[in-house]
């Protein structure tokens, strides 16, 4: 699965994206799985309220959303377009 990071999350993780094998079945579990892997994820996901998620390029509100068949999951802060 491809995981993407944008804005200050990208800066904290150090890469714009990574290809990973994940065991998690939901967005919430994926975050926990990443945090357990490396301290940099713990720092990046520290303020979880300020993190937005898109699964296959669709914004999701609920961290219980399944990622079983997802091709990509993206993490980023609130958008500041326009």
């Amino acid at each position: 699965m491809k995981i993407l990071y944008f804005s200050w999350l990208r800066e904290k993780i150090g890469v714009p994206f990574e290809e990973v094998e994940v065991r998690s079945e939901t967005v919430g579990d994926l975050i926990k799985e990443l945090i357990n892997q490396d301290h940099k994820y713990e720092l990046a996901f520290e303020d979880i309220k300020s993190i937005r998620v898109a699964v296959d390029q669709k914004i999701i509100q609920d961290f219980n959303v399944s990622i079983k068949n997802a091709r990509e999951v993206a993490f980023f802060p609130p958008m500041t377009g326009g």
Binding site: F6, Q57, I59, F76, P77, P78, M79, T80, G82
Partner: protein, 157 residues
């Protein structure tokens, strides 16, 4: 990315290069039904949050998703109002004070529909287009924080 729904032509571009308002309007005016064109141009400015002068504004985005997210906003506008044309151009990359950031252009037979739809699209671009802005100053840089009011305002629509 572009499509036509119910005779409303929608065009979305995410690009590094600048746009030209005159030529965008010229494209629209070939259609004789329109009576009014509302248009909003967002421009890079010193936010006033810092005492230093802004050196540049960097716009990062989610390639692929950005176009889709903006298209969804336009389709929503097209369902709410009677429009002939919707054009959105959002620039990304590194921009400087006074540079154009975004163009929203809507055309309708009636002025109110053109105005409302352009305002609606701008409001949703603020917090629904996967774009993030970073302000660069001479001595430091900082990511632009989203404003709570920009999110709250969406409930008014």
């Amino acid at each position: 990315m572009h499509q036509t729904i119910k005779k409303c032509y929608i065009s979305v571009n995410v690009q590094k290069v600048d746009f030209d308002i005159n030529s965008e309007i010229k494209k629209i005016k070939s259609n004789k039904i329109i009576g009014g064109i509302a248009n909003f141009t967002g421009v890079v400015r010193n936010s006033g949050r810092e005492k230093e002068e802004l050196v540049s504004l960097e716009l990062e985005h989610y390639p692929g998703m950005t176009e889709k997210a903006i298209m969804l906003i336009c389709e929503d506008a097209q369902k709410r109002w009677n429009l002939n044309f919707i054009k959105v151009i959002h620039r990304v990359g590194r921009l400087f004070a006074g540079d154009n950031i975004v163009l929203v252009l809507t055309a309708s037979a009636h002025r109110k529909e053109a105005f409302k739809s352009a305002e609606f699209i701008m409001d949703f671009l603020k917090s629904r287009a996967p774009i993030w802005k970073k302000e660069h100053y001479r001595t430091h840089s900082s990511w632009v924080q989203s404003k709570e009011e920009d999110e709250l305002i969406l409930n008014d629509w």
